[in-house]
């Protein structure tokens, strides 16, 4: 339960990644303080405690004055990726022992005999079945005997399982058999964690529900003990505030709720980054953005319209990055819970540039990583990378990375590029490097298209929001190819996940399967379903400590034309439902279908309501939103002597000003390059850059 100290002193956002733990603190004047420390994998709490001391003290704050502790973590996804979850058993319906392992039969790669299906999270001998059956309408056709359940649970206990997942066929329509199994588990093993599918995901489709329930049970003991340990450590330091966690869907939840349904926080970190980008953009006056986050090995894209990010209804962990089509699924572990829709491609600064057997230049997906790293790091890397191309082109400081900690060897990069790429292609080294950059851009554009044009959205209407160590290096080049005119580069792009936490609302989702024609539905019945879900959300939020006036409810519905097999998620208005509003909803669906896919059915074709969902949100008090971030001590103080940078055959090599962000208080035409502690921002010719009131660099392409 939330117990918000009234004399709020500061709020803290902490994002733990594999390498770094980022901390952002905002005090009640809206001043922001940041810190990046190395993660401590043996005990994540240590880095947090140490990092907190480092960021709070200089700000004149202390742990006991933290009013809210907001947290994003990879503990869930790492547990799955490293297969380090609990030893769990699974109870299913007789005849359906292998739903988890058969999956949906699909493989993510064609013509690849070497592909292997990910090992099931529960091995077959721990998957038991019981004789029972519920039909599609929820009627019990074979009753479940309690003694059979007891035998199954005893058998799993004898196998020393650390948790039990339960998923019976058609339980979305009638959960009573699953509830009976839960009752028996509680009776025979009161302390054993368990997950039943009708609680975790009361929706149709047995594989999706089984997989999600199993993942929940698999990571539950690990997430729960992590959160307990973290809470204990922080309380020892004097913290009184509760821990709130970022969920994959972009909303916050309490540590208690996250320990029960850890499946909702698996994509906690990436979600925080997108939420941060969207909220920061809205505060800066941009409501339609494409967030573009480019690091060392991958580039991720996500989209927001009218300040709302987009959710996908399911995703896979460990499925690998997008190879080509998003339709090629089947890898990894499926989670059918809402998550912010992010498309990812294998292109980053460390991506290897090579020539294939057909004589064509290729980028990645192999990456030189941090070790041996790009050729210019001179740490043994012999294969040219995208970063080497940027050094050759004069975009990245050829002497050292801006913090000054890493010396670069530009000549070495040039030699390798020339020998391995330019000569075989019959071009000069500059053209080869520029080509590598442009081809990397065209690969990354695939991620952006996956979330825009493949969903019927024209990217040209959006602002490109550049994040990550390499985002700002490529943003203008990406925008040019996509026809985007406006780019936003926020301060401290590298800390954005931690920053995003401070912007999030507490959020819970509830859903119900309906499967009826819209025109056959009685508005009152539907309204009662809404109310039922709303009551659940309000009850949970009030448990979370929010008062009635802080709570907001949003309605969604999944609909399709009768006979279609994919649904569209449509946002619906509040208020009463009438026959007329049903007609309006039907029309709204047709309009959205046409907008997304370019066609719609004739008016006499009925629309089917598949399921309804509600999001219960608790908006936080208006104070203590992060304001203008502070400049980092490692940033440039003043303009440096210009250097040559190459801008394609149209412009050639140009003298390019090297400037700190602060120099853009006066608008400036490109070419120029902003060098900062954690990123480099390229402003090409035919573009103008300026700072806005939020210290963002706004680049406008002509």
């Amino acid at each position: 339960m939330l117990d918000r100290p009234k004399a709020a002193a500061c709020r803290v956002g902490i994002d733990i990644g594999g390498t770094f733990t980022d901390l952002v603190v905002v005090n009640d004047q809206g001043e922001t303080f940041t810190k990046k420390v190395s993660s401590t994998a043996d005990n994540y709490a240590r880095a947090i405690i140490e990092g907190l001391a480092g960021v709070l003290e200089p700000a004149g704050l202390s742990v006991d004055r933290i009013s809210e502790f907001l947290h994003g973590t990879t503990v869930g996804s790492n547990t799955i990726l490293e297969l380090k979850g609990a030893r769990i058993g699974l109870i299913g319906t007789k005849g359906f022992r292998d739903i988890l392992e058969i999956r949906n039969l699909r493989m993510p790669r064609l013509y690849d005999l070497r592909w292997d299906k990910p090992a099931p999270l529960v091995e077959r001998y721990l998957r038991l079945t019981v004789n029972e059956r519920v039909d599609a309408t929820g009627a019990i056709t074979t009753p479940l005997s309690r003694s059979e359940v007891e035998a199954a649970v005893q058998r799993l206990l004898a196998e020393k399982v650390e948790g039990i997942a339960v998923c019976l066929l058609n339980s979305y329509a009638n959960p009573s058999h699953e509830r009976l199994i839960a009752e028996v588990i509680r009776e025979l093993a009161p302390d054993l964690p368990y997950s039943i599918s009708s609680d975790v995901l009361p929706q149709m489709k047995e594989y999706e529900r089984t997989s999600t329930t199993v993942v929940n049970a698999y990571i539950m003991p690990i997430v729960a003990s992590y959160l307990k340990h973290l809470g204990d450590s922080l309380r020892n330091e004097g913290m009184k505030a509760p821990i709130l966690l970022m969920q994959s869907n972009g909303g916050l939840t309490t540590a208690e709720e996250a320990s029960e349904k850890p499946v909702n926080i698996v994509e906690s970190g990436p979600a925080a980054g997108v939420v941060g980008a969207v909220r920061h953009a809205v505060n800066s006056g941009h409501s339609d953005i494409i967030s573009f986050d480019m690091g060392g090995t991958t580039a991720k894209a996500s989209v927001a319209e009218n300040g709302q990010f987009v959710l996908s209804q399911q995703y896979s962990v460990g499925g690998g990055i997008m190879i080509s089509s998003r339709l090629l699924t089947g890898g990894g572990y499926l989670l059918a819970v809402p998550a912010i829709d992010v498309a990812e491609v294998g292109a980053g600064g460390g991506s290897i540039v090579w020539i294939d057997a057909g004589g064509s230049m290729q980028i990645g997906p192999e990456s030189a990583g941090a070790n041996p790293g790009p050729v210019c790091y001179n740490k043994g890397g012999d294969r040219p990378t995208v970063t080497d191309a940027n050094v050759i082109l004069g975009y990245i400081n050829p002497e050292y990375l801006v913090g000054g900690e890493l010396k670069l060897d530009a000549a070495r990069a040039r030699n390798h590029f020339d020998r391995l790429l330019a000569k075989p292609l019959g071009v000069d080294v500059t053209t080869a490097a520029y080509g590598a950059r442009q081809i990397a851009i065209s690969n990354m554009i695939r991620a952006i298209k996956a979330v825009t044009s493949e969903r019927g959205r024209d990217p040209r209407g959006f602002t490109l929001f550049a994040l990550g160590g390499n985002g700002a290096l490529f943003a203008a080049g990406m925008a040019r190819e996509l026809g985007i005119k406006s780019i936003l580069v926020p301060p401290s792009a590298g800390l954005f996940s931690a920053y995003g936490l401070l912007h999030a609302d507490v959020e819970h989702y509830y859903g119900e399967t309906v499967r009826r024609l819209l025109r056959d539905i009685e508005p009152d019945t539907w309204l009662r379903s809404w109310s039922r879900l709303e009551d659940k959300a309000r009850a949970q939020l009030s448990l979370d400590g929010f008062s009635e006036d802080e709570i907001h409810i949003r309605r969604f519905a999944n609909m399709r034309y009768k006979g279609q097999t994919f649904e569209m998620n449509i946002s619906l208005p509040d208020g009463p439902l009438t026959e007329a509003s049903l007609a309006t909803i039907e029309e709204a669906f047709g309009t959205e279908h046409e907008r997304t896919y370019g066609h719609r059915a004739s008016l006499d074709e009925p629309v089917q309501l598949i399921s309804i969902q509600i999001a219960g949100l608790a908006a936080r008090p208006g104070s203590a939103k992060p304001g203008k971030p502070q400049a980092h001590s490692g940033d440039l103080r003043a303009e440096q002597p210009p250097r040559k940078a190459y801008f394609g055959s149209e412009h050639g090599w140009l003298d390019t000003a090297i400037i700190p962000r602060s120099a853009l208080t006066e608008p400036r035409r490109g070419p120029c390059i902003v060098e900062e502690y954690d990123t480099t921002c390229v402003i090409p010719p035919n573009a103008t850059a300026r700072l806005d009131a939020m210290s963002n660099i706004i680049i406008t392409l002509e």
Binding site: G95, F96, R97, D98, I99, I102, N104, L105, R106, M107, R109, L110, Y111, D112, L113, R114, K117, E123, R124, Y125, D135, A136, L169, N170, M204, K205, E206, S325, R326, L327, L328, G330, A357, G358, G359, S360, M361, P424, G426, V427, T431, Y434, G435, Q438, I439, S442, I445, R446, K449, E454, E481, K562, G563, Q564, T565, F566, Y597, G598, H599, S649
Partner: protein, 595 residues
Amino acid sequence: MTALPVGQPKGDDFINFELFKNELFSIADEMAVTICRTTYSGVLRDNMDFSTGIADAQGRLVAQGLTLPVHLGSIRTALEAVMNKYAGDIGDGDVFILNDPFEGGMHLPDIFILKPIFSGGELIAFAATTAHHVDVGGHVPGSNSVNSTEIFQEGLRIPPLKLVNGGKHDVALWGLIQSNVRLPIQLLGDLRAQLAACEIAQRKVLALTDRYGLGAARSYMAEITDYTERLARAALRELPDGEFDFEDWIDDDGMDVGVPIRLFVTVRKKGETVEFDWTGSAPQVRGAINCTLSVTEAASYTALRSILPGGIPNNDGVFRVIRTIAPKGSIANVAMPGACAARALTGFRMVDCAFGALSKMVPDRVFAASDGGNVGVTVAGFDRSGSRFVYVDFSCGTWGGRPWADGIDGISNIFVNMASQSVEQIESEHPIEILAYEFAQDRCGAGKFRGGAPFYRDYRIKVPDAILQIRADRQTIRPYGLHGGKAGKPGSVSLNPNTSNDPIGSKVTINVREGDEFRYVLPGGGGWGDPLQRDPVAVLKDVRNEIVSASAARQEYGVVLDEATLSVDQAATEKLRASLSAERGNATEFVNWVN
């Protein structure tokens, strides 16, 4: 240092070429997304039985979107038919439709929608889609029946026609189609999705030619296929030259029950090209499992592509270096009026057969026989409200053992990459109950690397009467094992599996009544390598997971387990393996169909 290939873009142009290529491929993908997300049928959504692509003005395929291997090369054949028939009469705003296997199609359910794209009055490209429709009429719902002997029984035959002429829809043709199919709303909805995909492609291809210019766009499209050809040639160069042949068999065609049908292929590899010659395969048969040449080509491509490195695009450049030969009038190249609705069955077996030949070429890269292709199930009738239902589903199953690992249990056949339909969804949409869907014990072929475990499915009918149509195979001629591995166990189809369990054969159309139950069991994957060399710990794991029984562990693998402690009895195992080895002799025969 490799020299720059002739014709490759020079200087800055290589950058534009790459950008153009990426863009064109992503347009083809976007077409696929449009179809998949708006389809009315589980066959398209889950089985993903559709393909999209963009061809140049000569009809040569340049970029293919998500594609079932079974469709590889089919777009080219369809475009050829249109260009032959409409030479000089292809105009801006036309959209062509066809499904006739004897004029560009593959089998009647696969309807092609092809749209020429014009820029400045000049034809520059074609947008192409093909999709499997749930029903196109004919004597059995689902239009998939094996039990047709002529194309005329199989449904509505559409030669290459203009569905849209100069932007104007041919209302008569739409009407004719609507009247000849069982589920017109679904079919027309799916056609609409195909049209939308072509519209999107047109818009984006035109943006691309605006940007790069018509001349450059043409030369880039040509270069994309040349580039692909270079990749394919480079990959083929690495393979050993020689002639490699193989035979495999289909149980029967469902008409002449019990008469096996021979498939025979000779793979001739020389330098940078390869030939798949299907001469020696059986003459075309009465049942509807005859293949068009395009299916035979797709099967040949699929097997070959599976041993080549990834990253080679699917387009005309690949087709140029692979030649497929099949005598007209054979099962591999059907002549009028042969029936071919269930031709995929033969396609699957051709893939098995071609893999067998390739295993002689590169033994360490090819797996033993998979389940032999999917089982097709159609249940149709009227539900209690009087509405017609047609449930069409294809399930496949499992891979053969691989030279480095076991075959995968529960996976799509390599020829299709189909997903299963959700049991709960099937039950909510059709008056059918599914009683079981899980792995069957002791059905996989033994081997150092065992074949994948197959699954079985039980169904119960919930309406007074319905038609059940099943297409299966590998019930007598089993999935072969390789290099000492044993054959997979055969599949089966039976009625009332929990009581009388009456076998009903592999290819049937029968009437069923309320309460009737039926079961199919998929064949198991073939094993790879001598089972006596299998790691006993792997056998133990299979026994513990009840994929293999303790008695089979002894008999097939020579592994003795101490069931109390769940461990391998090392001494007893060594002794048993020695005696089995002496008894069996040298278990390294190349191929094994029998045990």
